[in-house]
Subunit: 338 residues, 2 copies
DNA sequence: TTGTACGCGTTATCAT
DNA sequence: ATGATAACGCGTACAA
């Protein structure tokens, strides 16, 4: 391995000069700089990040904690994080939790030991989170992504409003028997907020939620569970799903019952994963700017870091969402409607 | 921040004893160990990873370089990597390249500067790769994922054989006019290997490839491009796509032309992304064990590291793939067949 | 069993 | 403009 020492020897200067050549180029004579640069190139010198961060107390690394990369929402977000971080000269260190609180916490501990400069977190629920307690106690700069909570800096969309808007859209198409499909609401604040948006939307339209919420504990066998639920009559004319992954499975469930989408039943998602628009039928959904949520999280964090400050609740950003009407929704059929 | 020094003072012992308490527990008296552990817990001591890796020359960190997380294949793989790494006490540091060689290289340079213990790479083409030259020159332990090449340690499936098998399956259904849809073959060795598998499969069946290969440079407007291609008569009765993302778009293209899948045209993918089986029609595909490819990469790497060796070409693993017949493929219709 | 002291590769302070 | 050197936090030979 080539170190700053070897470069110094090779160039016939002191280590201090080599260091300056890279960190404070204008503080070194143009000629000597050339010499050093060439020596460094010859030895393929690459500064040792551990030594640097030990010395500077900054790692140029951002920790990321999210539930799972098997949901494209978070994969797209991490892609945005990766791009923005790389562009700013930062590395990232992601951990996945599979929605397990224990893993949230151990991930943050590992990240702290690592000395990350900041944290981007998607936590289960910010309201009672040992993870966040720890982060605050250690005074680590952080941003929450997708979560929204008054007491923390959050990059998110207005989940209740967005979900209510989806309901309003379906109502405007003529739907009245609308049922919601949700994952475990205890898994995340998003699930809860979307549910409250559902209730608000229905109330605003003067409607009662159609039958109990269809709660799908495990997404693996979601199709079967939705098939079950759809067999109760009267059947809803529209299904609003808590996320796109669930919506895709709901569409499958409908087909298994011989129902056409959207002719016999409308189905909507939430998240705006890229694949949604290429499906057939394409997915009516609330599109969140997933990559941007990641990018903004990075830039907010980095901006604060450069100022020696850290993001507070007032730095929260509510990004725009877009209701994307697509082929999976349509007015209810006459036969079933009423 | 609490350091080993402070813990030592708090416990009334030397720093060496504190260090040993965590790294060589049996070399320290049970009583003093208790005292140290309690002191450490009281101060919420977490060892500084930079200092440790500077000292030990090992970072307990694995670098990962892959094209993009917007393709679920790589997202699922990274999920597997993240799980396996965390379980083994390693952190990961991923970079995305967007299929750009420049970024492949700069990622690896950054990772090297960081002092990662090993590298998991999905490169464009191992045959002529400045990235791999650098990695070898620096003597960094590495594994290639998805790539397959005799001169490198690779975790992958037999792409040509798998693709040929897909062709054979369609032929067995009665298809004869089979066309291939591919991304830019210059983008990756996988694309090339799958294409050669296509040719081999067709030859083995005594068939000519139906019309020229449908090459889709950019996946964003893939649907339009496939629509264009499908308008030439005679139309293929089956479309074999180079990956699942392309297949999903091909299905959409078919629908736009009023073709039913699989009644009027069969469409197959490759990769086995999880979503595929929940689509309607569900996707006939070659299913790769994406998460396992990640997990095996990690364990191979870590195993070698613990032995002080590094993976060589002979450590390559060819994992099993599974042909998954599903709803997007069926025998050709009588009208169009022949 | 425990403590002392050096060095890992940098950056930054203070001289020159 | 450049050089010598201390310090970042830790692990480990070596000494006690």
């Amino acid at each position: 391995m080539s170190t700053i020492q070897k470069v110094a020897k090779e160039a016939g200067v002191s280590v201090a000069t080599v260091s300056r050549t890279f960190n404070l180029p204008d503080k070194v004579n143009a000629e000597t700089r050339k010499i050093v640069e060439q020596a460094a190139a010859r030895l393929r010198y690459i500064p040792n990040a551990s030594a640097r961060s030990l010395r500077t107390q900054r790692s140029q690394t951002l920790g990321v904690v999210l539930p799972t990369l098997n949901n494209p929402v978070f994969a797209e977000c991490l892609q945005g994080i990766a791009q923005a971080a790389a562009a700013a000269g930062y590395s990232i260190m992601p951990f996945t939790t599979d929605y397990l609180l224990k893993q949230e916490e151990s991930a943050v501990r590992a990240l702290h030991g690592f000395g990350v400069d900041g944290l981007i977190l998607v936590v289960s629920d910010p309201r009672a989170s040992a993870t966040l307690d720890f982060v605050r106690e250690q005074n680590i700069p952080y941003v929450l992504a997708y979560n929204s909570n008054d007491e923390h800096p959050c990059i998110s969309v207005d989940n209740p409003a967005a979900f209510a808007r989806m309901v309003a859209y379906l109502v405007s198409l003529g739907h009245q028997r609308i049922a919601m499909v949700s994952g475990r609401r205890s898994d995340s604040d998003r699930a809860q907020q979307r549910y409250s948006g559902f209730l608000a939307g229905m109330t605003a339209a003067g409607l009662q939620p159609h039958q109990a919420i269809i709660e799908v504990p495990f997404i693996d066998n979601a199709v079967d569970q939705i098939v079950q639920a759809l067999q109760h009559k009267p059947r809803p004319s529209a299904l609003v799903c808590s996320n796109d992954l669930l919506a895709i499975r709901a569409i499958r469930a409908a087909h298994q019952l011989g129902l056409r989408v959207p002719d016999d039943i409308s189905i909507t998602g939430f998240d705006g994963i890229r694949l949604g628009q290429d499906l057939t039928p394409s997915l009516t959904t609330i599109s969140q700017p997933n990559a941007d949520i990641g990018r903004y999280s990075v830039s907010l964090l980095i901006q604060c870091l450069s100022q020696g400050s850290k993001p507070g609740p007032s730095a929260s950003l509510l990004l725009n969402y877009v209701l994307c009407p697509a082929e999976s929704s349509a007015p209810p059929s006459q036969v079933l409607g009423g």
